[in-house]
């Protein structure tokens, strides 16, 4: 081992420090090629016959990309075609400094065996290490290091193959670097050149990211945007208070408007409004930006109009017109918001976006606009030669940059997902857009599954309580295959009742730290879409070994209480157990058994006991102030063959639903208390913060319009006033009010008890709460199981479980995944609703006004649980006279005044004019307002007939 030292000087804030680090050079770093016999590499990565067919290089070769190629062309490198690539350590380090996401992706590529990517530690190799020369910049040195390493490889391989055919090809887009490399005797190509030469891969071409000097050709010379400030000026500006730093959120409904959330504490202003393209200045949703505030007299109110960017092509002229429309808004001084403009981008948060291509008007054009599915993302201009094939397909596109003279950002094509409207494709899109991991489980993950046939062993019997004799049963929705909870209830000899909740013991199968565990932790939750389930754990566990099906022996984690007949807990006891469920019932079956007085078997008795106790528990809970909220939920009846939805049905709630729920709550609360007592620092709990009073404004206003008072001082007051709020002849009113109340709530979140002091669960009115009862579909429950197992000495602990920072990080991931899963679920329901209405044609329905907006009313159709907007301003026609009163809130359209909760009749149809965003269109039938009530001409004949009927 040889040793040498380098001296690195580094400056840190203020002073100049001389930092001396050792740098060891080694001669045991192998080249990683199969050809080489001298290097004693045990598992060479690079293949002997490395052929990517290319016009330029007809010989087998390895690729060495330089840093910029990796950074910008990562989409190409990820392609399965590109194999046998040598990633130099210096390149990897530079990538790591400059872009974390690209670093992650290149690392994933390196780990993939089929890709044959090899990392060569050139900086520690005796022959490839170079010292920085006098006057040489760090970048130049790194470029030189890359060339030296490439040269070393060339010579090394030539020697090993006796001057044979195996060569290395350096890829660089830097002109001077290329020249120097050529002088140095290397084979070097520009990335574009090389990719173009590849045989039989035209679509790889489209994935090439555009280089800055290509972009000039694409766009006109007119400057559209102000220049972004350099980072140094932004930083000093932020320091002296001139600029504010925050995350940009584009407005979903109005592409000319956005908000910047300032995430610094102690700042008075935490939201800055941006209006107009110039002021948005190329910020894309989720970017971290620096904004400059306008003086107060320029502050405006957010416009509540809906504007969509659907100009036919990339003409820039018509913008002015729409912008004027924006500015023409009359502004009421009370609602003025801090307004400003973006001066610079601190961090771009671009990811590949799903969407569709809108083909250029010119037939032969290769530049097209891409419309992302997420309306907050601007349209992206891409270059492709296969536009004809891509029309009507869902594709993925990544943004490369947004020059200041271009109306739209430039990007490149990444992947084709399939044809739009296709159920598979749409599901894929909504999973991708909501960042739901949905790939099949990898071999590494599956290798940790128990071997089949699996059975309960002697050891299990020894350490677990044998509860197989108990009359346990499960109650679930129909068609449920992942049964994670079962119940039992029996009378004890002393007259008290024993109630048990038995939860699938998933933590027995998923051991901490292995690949299976990591995958489950990263997925966080099972996602239920219409007709599809994205499992958190492999199916063998979720639907078989962990599923507490009837008449099989299963491992469980039991929570057993001794209660008196008033449902007061006398004793609680937790144990790992073995159970044998006697019946898997649906809610309806269970209800039938309870109601059918002729049935006298053990299961029915047990159910009746549970039901009786549940009622007492529920009553007690509600007395404490637990909220009963409502949301319109629907179920689709799915055709078993075509998987098309054939009918819609609102979810029905039976007594048994609430029975199961009640005991799950009880178990969760008991466990939460237990793990918190045992681990005050690292218990994983769930809290539901009480919402700020302002959230309730809309609810109070809405109730007032019907002369009702809603008290929102506490959960209890709210629950009581909701119970009392009824209007005669309007039975659905209370449900509407509850739906509205649900929208006022905050999100419930997981957290680690050591990191927070407020544990209260507002909705359940419980001082402490956690999730324990669904470990098959939620990762949080697995952690809670592990904590509880440690608390009762049934299992051993491990480092990460007791680390509150790691747990807090885990909680953040779980919260994010849960949120995204919810969004994905809603999106899936929305998509199936569309499919449903596509098949149905036009329907007339009764609905209620849920919200009143400036130019629209939002209507809820209780029958379908469907929400939609009726717009009153139309592009083609002159708008009716509108006057909006935000106090009511009411909207006066011509002569008719719309109030919240008014009953209306609408036609529902599918608007397929925009294939990307197909949406449900609603049009008003009743009340009749001339010029408004039937704004969709095609639906006129159908709409009129029913109108006569009613």
């Amino acid at each position: 081992m040889l040793k040498s030292k380098t001296f690195v000087k580094k400056t840190r804030s203020g002073g100049v420090l001389k930092i001396v680090r050792e740098h060891y050079l080694r001669d045991d770093i192998w080249c990683g090629s199969e050809v080489c016999k001298e290097c004693k590499d045990e598992a060479p990565v690079l293949q002997e016959h490395a052929c990517i067919e290319s016009n330029l290089c007809s010989y087998p070769h390895y690729l060495i990309p330089d840093t910029n190629v990796v950074l910008h062309q990562i989409d190409i490198l990820e392609d399965p075609l590109i194999r046998n690539v040598i990633i130099l350590q210096i390149v990897l380090q530079e990538v790591r400094h400059r872009s974390a996401p690209v670093y992650k992706r290149i690392k994933d590529a390196i780990h993939e065996k089929e890709k044959h990517f090899y990392t060569f530690t050139n900086e520690h190799h005796r022959e490839t290490f170079i010292e920085r020369e006098q006057g040489e910049s760090a970048n130049d040195r790194n470029d030189r290091a890359i060339r030296v390493a490439a040269k070393w490889y060339t010579d090394h391989l030539a020697k090993k193959t006796n001057g044979g055919s195996l060569k290395v090809v350096l890829l660089t887009d830097d002109r001077s670097n290329k020249e120097k490399a050529e002088q140095y005797g290397l084979i070097v190509y520009r990335c574009e050149e090389y990719i173009k030469s590849l045989i039989g891969n035209p679509e790889l071409m489209d994935r090439l990211a555009l280089k800055p000097d290509d972009q000039n050709e694409i766009t006109g010379s007119k400057l559209l945007f102000p220049e972004h400030l350099p980072l140094s000026r932004i930083q000093s500006g932020i320091k002296n208070g001139m600029f504010l730093q925050g995350t940009f959120h584009a407005n979903r409904d109005n592409y000319l408007e956005g908000k910047v959330f300032i995430n610094r504490e102690g700042e008075e202003i935490n939201e800055v409004l941006l209006q107009g393209l110039q002021n948005l200045n190329r910020a894309v949703h989720q970017d971290v930006v620096a904004v400059e505030l306008f003086p107060k007299e320029h502050w405006v109110a957010p416009s509540s109009v809906v504007l969509q960017d659907d100009s036919p092509n990339d003409e820039d002229a018509e913008e002015d017109e729409t912008e004027n429309k924006l500015k023409g808004e009359p502004s009421d001084s009370s609602v003025l918001q801090p307004t400003g403009r973006v001066v610079g981008i601190i961090k771009r948060n671009w990811r590949p976006f799903c969407g569709m291509l809108s083909q250029s008007m010119i037939k032969e054009a290769t530049r097209h606009l891409f419309t992302p599915a997420d309306r907050r993302i601007p349209r992206i201009r891409i270059e492709t030669r296969q536009a004809a094939n891509l029309v009507g397909q869902r594709i993925m596109v990544a943004i490369d940059g947004w020059p200041k003279n271009s109306r739209y950002p430039n990007g490149h094509f990444v992947k084709n997902l399939g044809s739009a409207g296709d159920k598979e494709t749409e599901t894929e899109v909504l999973l991708l857009e909501h960042d739901v991991p949905h790939q099949p489980f990898s071999q590494a993950v599956l290798s940790f599954l128990p071997k089949m046939p699996w059975s309960i062993t002697e050891e299990d019997l020894k350490v677990r309580a044998d509860l197989r004799h108990l009359c346990v049963c499960s109650v679930d929705p129909p068609g449920c295959t992942d049964i994670d909870d079962t119940l039992h209830c029996r009378e004890l000899e002393n007259g008290n009742l024993e109630v048990g909740v038995h939860i699938a013991d998933v933590s027995h199968f998923i051991r901490p730290g292995n690949a299976l565990d990591q995958e489950a932790a990263s997925r966080g939750t099972t996602v239920y879409l219409c007709g599809k389930r994205i499992d958190m754990v492999p199916e063998l566990l979720s639907s078989n070994l962990c599923s507490l099906r009837s008449n099989v022996e299963r491992l469980a984690f039991s929570c057993i209480w001794e209660m008196n007949h008033n449902a007061e807990i006398l004793k609680a006891h937790f144990t790992k157990s073995i159970i044998n469920s006697k019946a898997s019932l649906t809610y309806a079956e269970a209800q039938m058994r309870i109601d059918d007085s002729t049935m006298k078997d053990d299961i029915t008795k047990s159910l009746r006991g549970l039901n009786r106790l549940a009622k007492i528990l529920k009553g007690r809970r509600i007395a404490k102030g637990a909220l009963t909220l409502s949301s319109p939920e629907v179920r689709f009846h799915i055709d078993s063959e075509t998987h098309d939805p054939i009918d819609l049905q609102s979810k029905e709630l039976k007594e048994t639903n609430s029975m199961v729920e009640e005991f799950m709550l009880l178990a969760n609360i008991s466990v939460a208390q237990k793990i918190y007592d045992e681990f005050s620092e690292c218990a994983l709990l769930r809290k539901h913060p009480s919402p700020p009073p302002s959230n309730y404004d809309i609810l109070i206003k809405a109730a007032k319009s019907r002369d009702l008072n809603i008290h929102t001082d506490s959960a209890k007051a709210l629950a009581d006033s909701l119970n009392n709020a009824t209007v005669e002849n309007f039975p659905y009113f209370n449900t509407l009010l509850r739906i509205l109340a649900t929208r006022c709530m905050m999100q419930a979140v997981y957290f680690c008890s050591g990191m927070d002091s407020d544990f209260h669960h507002y909705g359940l009115a419980s001082p402490i709460y956690t999730h324990f009862t669904s470990p098959i579909r939620r990762y949080a429950d697995i952690i809670v199981h592990r904590l509880l197992a440690v608390a009762i000495n049934a299992d051993s602990t491990y480092p990460d479980l007791m680390d509150k920072h790691k747990q807090s990080a885990l909680c953040n991931n779980l919260n994010y995944r849960h949120k995204m899963a919810q969004y994905a679920q809603r999106a899936s329901v929305a998509f199936h609703t569309q499919l449903f209405f596509k098949n149905k044609g036009i329907i007339n329905e009764e609905g209620f006004i849920l919200f009143v907006r400036k130019n629209a009313i939002i209507i809820l159709i209780p029958k379908f649980g469907l929400e939609g907007a009726v717009f009153f301003d139309n592009k083609d026609k002159p708008s009716p006279h509108l006057s909006f009163d935000s106090e009511g809130p009411t909207l006066k359209v011509e002569e008719h005044t719309f109030r919240m909760f008014d009953e209306v009749k609408v036609t529902i149809s599918l608007d397929a004019s925009n294939i990307q965003h197909q949406r449900i269109r609603m049009a008003l039938i009743e009340p009749v307002i001339p010029g408004v009530s039937v704004p969709v001409p095609e639906s006129e004949p159908e709409a009129k007939k029913p109108k006569l009927d009613c």
Binding site: L17, V20, E22, T119, Y798
Partner: protein, 245 residues
Amino acid sequence: MAGLELLSDQGYRLDGRKASELRKVQARTSVFAQADGSAYLEQGNTKALAVVYGPHETRGSRSKSLHDRAVINCQYSMATFSTAERKRRPHGDRKSSEMSLHLKQTFEAAVLTELYPRSQIDIYVKILQADGGNYSACVNAATLALVDAGIPMRDYVCACTAGFVEDTPLADLCHAEESGGGTSLALALLPRSGNIALLQMDARLHQDHLDALIEAAMTACKGLSKVLDGVVRQHLEEVSVLIRD
């Protein structure tokens, strides 16, 4: 910018070592003529100077002396120029008195103090350049100085640090690795018997990992003992050549 990657996927550390490899160790003994024993030791960029006086009569108050064994007096200090930022280091600050105490405990376990009742052995160590593992460099240098002074010991005392990154124990941490926020464990070993003279760890570490970490540190100490033994033997050879002349 992301933090430093302490261990790359290829298994190399920041400075190019593998997880179990030590830094280069170089040492010389008898660097001062006035002292009874002295040694200079470099462990990578960490450089330590150790000087030993004694055994001699107890200085200062009599009450300190012990009737059945010798008192070991250790003093640890760092040169002002030893770290990247120049800093005056007064004697007796908390850190150096703690270090002195640790050194004292270490050598009380190794030196055959019972041979010299009512006397005192002074060990002075100074860090000339600090680049991680100051304690272990001091112990190793002091061991050589004690050998040089001809003070009977049970065995060499070899010390080494070990850290824990991405479930892999790293031997002999450098400054960048030590300040990376991970665990650092210092261990002083009597290599032949395998007895531990001192074990010290500040950060939190799960119990499951402790054995692996101690094992790594012990292996490193054994490696060091070979180096130290080589230094002593070489010195002996040089001296004996001189005497023969």
